[in-house]
Symmetry: C2
Subunit: 210 residues, 2 copies
DNA sequence: GTCTATAGGCAGATAGAC
DNA sequence: GTCTATCTGCCTATAGAC
């Protein structure tokens, strides 16, 4: 569903050769958006990185909006797969939350911002199809987090507490913010520290007073 | 130290007439950066908003970098004043933290992102003088929060807990992230909910287990 | 201080040859 | 699919008149 029908396979035999052009465009553009922002990169940047012309990019993605749309769709797809993988790998809610934070840390280690966090900052300048998908990404993340929290409370691995929806929103927002702030410092430790103290407060039992 | 010597006052008698041009430029550019990002606005945007030409802007701020620098400096100055005002108005640490979060909520109500949060997202494309000042802004905020937390623990208005520096970083990062995420939704309530559950966890006593 | 005029470059985008 | 060539428009920035 990404960009083209493209079933009549091109030359590289589709086995495990070099990726096709559309994929390489997405890879390059994705990194550029995560590092420089959607308004901070151009077709020319991608083209020169790939050694092709901008006309070629326009063949695969007619406009910057379509490229952006494809970028988020692929990103959200991969993120969803990573979340599913966490659920099969980690049984308990606290470990799942820690692994979730680890996903963010991995992105940050590549000196990148979360794609959708970046687009959220620029949302005032984005076309509607892109805005909509940014929101859908956040909604999906929240829903997953909420399910994890509810599950953890049900099986006793998480203490009871405030509404799970609010907790889910806090976790996602705080991790996005921790990435945002850590990046100018070039300091992943700063993110890790924020993430672990966040998860510590969410995971620990509520105070006796509560 | 903002932009010009400008002591030989111009026509408007400097009493309480319309603001001078440099100030009006800063006001317009500030809003544009907070809504659209530094790479999402142009001199032409500011000029048309003010009914002047871009050449006039270049007289006051030779380049976009100098404008950005002036923008942050003024923003940081005003933020510092707001923090000082909070300290005189609120005696106890929890109230001070709530007022701090209220500052962010006010910005968000104007449909704006924190200026430095926005610039942090774009930091990969910014000139060094701007990057440096973004970091300085965050450092100042963290230092203030840490002092508030330490003070609250000393006077008993805050429970003891993990390192105050980490707590300060978490608060600032989480509030920046809550703004970032809430803005595409156009939903200030979403921010308020995240802020209050954040402050609730920071303000409440640590768990019996801890 | 603000203007007109303009330079010079880069942006996103398209037509049409190969 | 990818290229060359080109368009139009916007961008930052400057020179010089008023």
């Amino acid at each position: 569903m990404a960009a083209k029908p493209q079933d009549p396979r091109p030359s590289p035999a589709r086995g495990r050769r070099s990726k096709d052009t559309a994929t390489r465009i997405l890879d390059s553009a994705e990194r550029l958006v995560q590092v420089r922002g959607f308004n901070g990169f151009s077709y020319a940047d991608v083209a020169s990185e790939l050694g092709v012309t901008t006309a070629s990019l326009h063949y695969h993605f007619p406009g910057k909006t379509e490229l952006g749309r494809a970028l988020i769709e692929r990103y959200a797809e991969r993120f969803a797969e990573a979340l599913a993988e966490i659920e099969t790998r980690e049984a308990e809610a606290p470990a799942r939350l820690a692994a979730y934070a680890g996903l963010y840390a991995d992105v940050l280690r590549g000196r990148r911002m979360c794609l959708c966090g970046m687009l959220a900052a620029e949302h005032g300048t984005l076309a509607e199809p892109i805005r909509d998908r940014v929101i859908a990404f956040f909604d999906d993340n929240e829903a997953w987090l909420q399910r994890v929290i509810d599950g953890g409370r049900a099986d006793g691995s998480m203490p009871p507490g405030a509404a799970s929806r609010e907790a889910a929103r806090l976790i996602m927002s705080a991790l996005e913010g921790a990435m945002l702030v850590a990046r100018p410092y070039g300091d992943v430790d700063r993110f890790d520290a924020a993430a672990s103290s966040l998860l510590a407060t969410v995971t620990r039992a509520p105070s006796p007073a509560a």
